[in-house]
Amino acid sequence: MRILVLATHDQNRLLADNARIIGAAKKLGGEIDMLVVGHNVRDVAKNASKLEGVNKILLLDDKLFSRPFAQLITPLLVQLADNYSHIITSSNSVGRNIFPRLAAKLDLMPITDVIKIHSINCFDRPIYAGNAIETVKNEQAKTILTIRASEFEKVGQEKEGEGEGEGEGKIENIKIPKLAINTSFIEEYRTKSDSPDLTTASIVVAGGRAIGSKENFALVKKLAKKLNAAIGATRAAVDLGYAPNDWQIGQTGKVIAPKLYIAIGISGALQHIAGISGAKKIVAINDDIDAPMVKIADYSLIGDLNEILPDLISRLKQK
């Protein structure tokens, strides 16, 4: 059994997901190699090599790969596939984009968004916005998985000095035959924020339609800052322009698993709940005691968020 993990990164940093994907890979058992592909990503590879349980890093550092286009990374993975029984990655927006294409190229059905590993070939994945769980068995020649990172424990870092040259010795440069691409990158819009990453944060504060305006969302941000929490939103709040799209939590947004989730003016539609089932504790602020969110929250305060929020912020201890 050999596992290849496609590392996901933003060309500068290894995403927090990866430590959890390695955690999932370790559950499968077997030797774990990691592929780091990008441009000027030597440091990313170094950091990846420090993850506990990684056997070696395959590094492809080439200008061609300065964006993770599926059309380029797929043929690369196809070429490496022979050596591996399992090829896995995070079901983040990079993994979701590439892996189904990869699977089709290998004439395999992938298993996407895995939330539980029963054995080397049996997995759970959510269907119907998480209202049902499907347990599937794979008897195909290979296993292609995308993993919901928030459902798995992260591995630690190997202690310094262990392994040659702080992991450097584990890095193996790979070569590829000529690939070309006709798709080009035009521009990107990155949400600037100094708050923690939503999918891996231990506290998340989110606002819904009831926040009422982009300006009023500052209250949510203020509360988040006080708690050193990540900020989330509902689809309604994003569609109305109160919050950027990458803050959306739910079936079509991000899936979170914090120890504490604070839902402010959020009704709790099933598509939103789909993204928060991993939260340990839920606190709701809502003016409707019958809102679905209040029905599932561990603690709720019923009332007008416009009165509650400023008061709450002033009563909380600064972290």
């Binding site: 927006s93 892996f99 699977a103 035009i186 819009y189 305060l301």
Partner: protein, 251 residues
């Protein structure tokens, strides 16, 4: 320009689904079905392109039971010109890989310039078919799109990604999958549906296409997720602050 839009008939998004007690699946008998919401955005995007006189023909295609004719009719009412149904047996589940293979055959026959699909279906939540089709065709893919702009022989797609949005430019032909912020799909009133009944729906059997429709994955069981119990109603903001401080300190 010719656009093929692939769409799926699913349990309506407002239905609270019920998991069968024997673990064999989700109750779909006598449950309201409709067009997968993401596919609706794909149809709307194609129709808008036609309305701007940038496309000549839009073909809607679905793979599913005979009842999928209803969602195709809906697509025709929204403005598609004709429809194709690759009919499957009632209750027959076809995996994304087989769907992509069937779609590839239709693409080779119809030779569209663009293929639009929903980014995922709200029943299996797989988020696979578009990427698979693009792979099988060796076409570029623009997934999770929130904006589509046509240029000469190229198409620009703004994609919703984890860090925000990214805009790419692809040569045509290409596969594009729709996210919910792509547009606001039009509602179809009864007169539009009646008019759409005059448009052709070509029905063929999925099994006649020489594609292996056997499922690759074995579904062992479908179960209910753990239930969350509602908790305590707090009395005032100070109680709320205390609880938050407490939970925050917990490991």
């Amino acid at each position: 320009m010719k656009i093929l839009v692939a769409l799926k008939r699913v349990v309506d998004h407002n239905v609270r689904i019920r998991v069968k007690e024997d673990g064999s699946g989700v109750e779909t008998e006598n449950v309201r079905h409709s067009m997968n919401p993401f596919c609706k955005h794909a149809v709307e995007a194609a129709v808008q392109i036609k309305e701007q006189n940038k496309a000549k023909e839009i073909i809607a295609i679905s793979i599913g039971p005979i009842e999928a004719k209803d969602v195709l009719l809906n697509a025709l009412a929204m403005g598609c010109d004709r429809a194709i149904l690759l009919k499957t047996e009632k209750e027959q589940k076809i995996e994304p890989l087989a769907v992509a293979k069937l779609l590839k055959i239709i693409v080779q026959q119809e030779k569209p310039d663009l293929v639009f699909l929903g980014k995922q279906a709200i029943d299996d939540d797989a988020n696979q078919t578009g990427q698979m089709l693009a792979g099988l065709l060796d076409w570029p893919q623009g997934t999770f799109s929130s904006k589509i702009e046509l240029e000469e022989n190229r198409v620009n797609v703004t994609r919703e990604v984890d860090f925000g949005r990214a805009k790419i430019s692809m040569p045509i032909p290409a596969v594009i999958t729709a996210d919910l912020r792509l547009n606001v799909p039009r509602k179809t009133a009864l007169p539009m549906i009646i008019k759409a009944k005059k448009k052709p729906i070509n029905i063929m059997e999925a099994k006649d296409f020489n594609v292996d429709l056997q499922n690759r994955l074995i579904v062992e069981r479908i179960s209910e997720p753990p239930k969350r119990e509602g908790g305590k109603i707090l009395n005032n903001v100070q109680e709320l602050a205390n609880i938050i401080n407490e939970l925050e300190a917990e490991k």
